[in-house]
Subunit: 194 residues, 2 copies
Amino acid sequence: MPKLGMEPIRKAALVKATIVEIGRTGSLDVTVSQIAKRAGMSSALAHHYFGGKEAMFLAAMRHVLSLYGAEVRGALLSAEGPEARLVAILRASFSPTNFRREVVGAWLNFYVLAQTVPEARRLLAIYQRRLRSNLLICLRPLVGREADALADGLGAMIDGVYLREVLKAGPPDGAAAVSMLLAYLDAELKGNRQ
Amino acid sequence: MPKLGMEPIRKAALVKATIVEIGRTGSLDVTVSQIAKRAGMSSALAHHYFGGKEAMFLAAMRHVLSLYGAEVRGALLSAEGPEARLVAILRASFSPTNFRREVVGAWLNFYVLAQTVPEARRLLAIYQRRLRSNLLICLRPLVGREADALADGLGAMIDGVYLREVLKAGPPDGAAAVSMLLAYLDAELKGNRQ
DNA sequence: AAGTTTATTGACTCGTCAATCAACAAAAAA
DNA sequence: TTTTTTGTTGATTGACGAGTCAATAAACTT
């Protein structure tokens, strides 16, 4: 049975399964066996490839974060001008790829992980900085020195919408989330354009 | 040693200790022994009074939520007019009583708990509804039919600021949080006052 | 063909922890 | 003063789960 070159395949399967299990149970209280089972292998093999549970969590985080990053970069490619680029960032943040029950659940638990595991904290900090910087670049030409405050506000609201999603019933509504953010943005832009 | 009438005292101590321990470790992975030790008793006694760990968590949640509720109610007493009342709600939300490292950490973990434990979900839903309704009452005379959207936006941003606080270093800055929220509010009010 | 590397798992170890219990002590009620 | 109620804990049980290991097997190397 043993085919060679399994490592990347197994690792990918485990990362995916980790996200699903964390999102499904809504907590970090997931056993390695659960994850391995969902990924179709024994828990021993999971340990073999990742060395431990924490490494699996971190790999899952990196994956979610890099998916999000890619989505944002992609959306920015076809957006001209500050306003369009802002909209692109928001759309990407609430695209069906990212704004899904399991992924949102995973995000929440990554924040919890960040309280204990320095590497998790580092990864989340990178995400926040990158988002902030992306927003800032668009906002500065629009609102000048108000940009910093606005970027913080938008960042907080994005995270807040994600957080609140975990309590909502039914499928996530990304469009509604984006329009809430845009309403905030428009109000601030109008107030600053006079 | 056994003095009578210990029950409420012990329970209060356990609730407090639960919040501290959850906030301190930043996760729900707290043992009953840890909590009991901090509260100055044996783990068996903690079980005796609460029956189980989950009940302790829920009691801690109720306590945090009721402290917050009391703070808001108190602040609203001495506030006249919609604008002042809005400011009062925001100030209360970021008062030093609530906006503290341990409490913020506890909040985060209550969201996690809400994913698994229906009663926890119920409690958080109550908090969200009450906040929304408080905001709505103030906002309607100010912005009419925009009130609903704005209340949701403010709620999300409040939660987002709490969430982001868990990554920040140093002591929480409630004043900064309030002014961020007020900036948002002012922008929306201005845009709607014309 | 012999040896090495990679893939894979069942069984096991070892620690942890929630929950229970038996036992003891003091106050209150009878 | 016996009995009951309330307070309290050390010791124990029983379950569960992370991580290890020995063993097996297929594929590559020499």
